[in-house]
């Protein structure tokens, strides 16, 4: 798939994934990889940025399989941002689809 397309929707997919369930980094990478093929290393910077912008908050949860895992949780600001992003996406893909299918802008 064209990487430019993936660039645009990665944030939306990550936000939506965390909205459904609090996840830790590796789990989130696997979840996102099921939707789009993404370089795993790029997820963490994105998570860090979203955390810095207060869309995510983090907490540690003990794990039986090793050291405590850092879970990401969507904040209220994150939910609002996700909703806005989703709405923009809907409008965007509808207009693009309409144009590509010859319906005009």
């Amino acid at each position: 798939m064209n990487p430019q397309f993936k660039k645009g929707v990665l944030e939306l997919i990550v936000l939506e994934s965390v909205r459904r369930k609090d996840m830790y980094g590796y789990e989130l990478v696997e979840e996102v990889s099921e939707v789009i093929d993404v370089n795993e290393g790029t997820i963490y910077p994105l998570l860090k940025r979203l955390t810095n912008e207060r869309y995510f908050e983090t907490y540690l949860r003990e794990s039986s399989e090793g050291p405590p895992r850092k879970y990401y949780h969507l904040t209220a600001a994150g939910i609002l941002y996700l909703e806005r992003l989703a709405a923009e996406w809907e409008e965007f893909q509808a207009r693009v689809n309409a144009f590509v299918r010859g319906g005009g802008g």
């Binding site: 795993e40 963490y44 860090k48 810095n52 907490y59 540690l60 405590p68 609002l80």
Partner: protein, 385 residues
């Protein structure tokens, strides 16, 4: 590339960030690699999926609103400037509006900057070829990692050696500086004849928490800060953190305390005759200084008093003039302008005189009070300045 090397390289690139942030980030990547290895992948395979370390670091720095171009280029020289507008603060977080990208953020366009494997993209990595990242000659511009050449290895090792040497020299200079300071303090003791306990009130306050076993008493604030910063819900982890911090603090304080106790014992033995001479000289110097300051203040206050009296005299004359003008006005003479001028002058000079006398009176009141800590001459100086 091995896991250790990957993490150490990433740490180098991220050294501009706070230690806590670095550890946080590296722990996530380490955990990710471990989980992939549990699934059956080798270390190299697990790390290969991350792509280029440099580009990864650039993405991470972008999340902190750090100008990654300069930061990474400077990192190669071992210097980490923080560019204006980088937004780096003590917490290591860059603030931005809750918009899509925030201030200075490159946007999702950079996320895939050539980091995808070539077989996935089918084209040369787009973002990695952005001018900024390739400007300082990255070899990973194509998005895949080339094996390190001999020259590259030589440069890297040379740099590591140079950094180690510089750190050693810095540590040596600090040690020399400490010894010189201690020697100078020891030489000065005979002339001051005083112990050092009063010189370090901040250490005394810290002693309050120092326990006999060397551990700092610690505080709830430390536990709270650790908990908040790390979002740790597990009490045991938070307590472990606090214990580590407290032991470190306690050891540092104990070393300080031992050092000061030793200096005090030496200085008390050297007091006596030389100490008395020194104290006398200091007192005489202070007395001369006080006399000079008293003379200056006396002249200043006298000048101010004379000025106030002059203004009061002029104000009285103005008052007389205004009175006469009122009478003449009532008699029908056209002296309105003169009256207004006289009134203005009266108010002006009256205010000046009142200000000067007011300060004198306030000075007197505060002296009688004795409650104000500051001497009135200082207040006078401040106000007139």
């Amino acid at each position: 590339m091995s896991k250790e090397r990957f993490l150490s390289e990433l740490r180098e690139y991220l050294s501009i960030l706070e230690d806590q942030e670095q550890e946080d980030i590296l722990a996530e990547y380490a955990q990710h690699i471990d989980m992939k290895m549990l699934k059956g992948l080798s270390e190299e395979e697990a790390i290969r999926d991350f792509g280029s370390v440099k580009e990864l670091a650039a993405e991470i720095l972008a999340a902190y609103h750090v100008d990654s171009e300069h930061a990474l280029a400077a990192g190669r020289r071992g210097i980490w400037p923080v560019t204006p507008g980088s937004g780096r603060n003590n917490a290591g977080f860059g603030r931005s509006e809750p918009g899509r990208h925030g201030r200075g953020l490159p946007g999702p366009g950079r996320i895939f900057g050539g980091v995808n494997r070539p077989e996935q993209t089918g084209q040369a990595g787009s973002g990695a070829h952005e001018k900024g990242l390739s400007a300082y000659g990255t070899e990973e511009a194509e998005g895949d990692e080339r094996p390190e050449t001999f020259f590259g290895r030589f440069c890297r090792r040379g740099k590591e050696l140079l950094l180690r040497t510089l750190r050693g020299m810095q540590a040596g200079l600090c040690w020399i500086g400490r010894k010189c300071r201690g020697a100078a303090a020891w030489c000065a003791r005979p002339f001051t004849g005083r112990g050092t306990q009063a010189d370090s009130p901040d250490v005394d306050e810290e002693y309050a928490g120092l326990l006999e076993d060397g551990e700092y008493a610690g505080s709830d604030a430390v536990a709270k800060n650790v908990k908040d910063d790390r979002c740790v819900t597990n009490e045991e982890s938070a307590k472990r953190e606090c214990h580590d911090i407290n032991v470190t603090n306690g050891n540092a304080l104990r070393r300080k305390k031992d050092g000061i106790r030793e200096t005090k014992e030496r200085s008390s033995a050297m007091g006596g005759f030389f100490g008395a001479i020194g104290r006398g000289m200091v007192q005489m110097w202070q007395w001369m200084l006080d006399c000079c300051i008293f003379g200056l203040r006396l002249c200043w206050n006298t000048g101010w008093l004379l000025f106030s009296l002059l203004c009061a005299g002029i104000a009285m004359v103005m008052l007389l003039g205004v009175g006469m003008t009122i009478v003449l006005l009532c008699c029908g003479y056209p002296f309105t302008g003169i009256f207004i001028t006289g009134l203005g002058g009266l108010l002006c000079f009256g205010a000046l005189a009142a200000a000067g006398f007011g300060m004198m009176i306030r000075k007197k009141k505060e002296n009688e009070d004795g409650t104000k800590g500051k001497r009135m001459e200082e207040v006078h100086y401040e106000q007139t300045a």
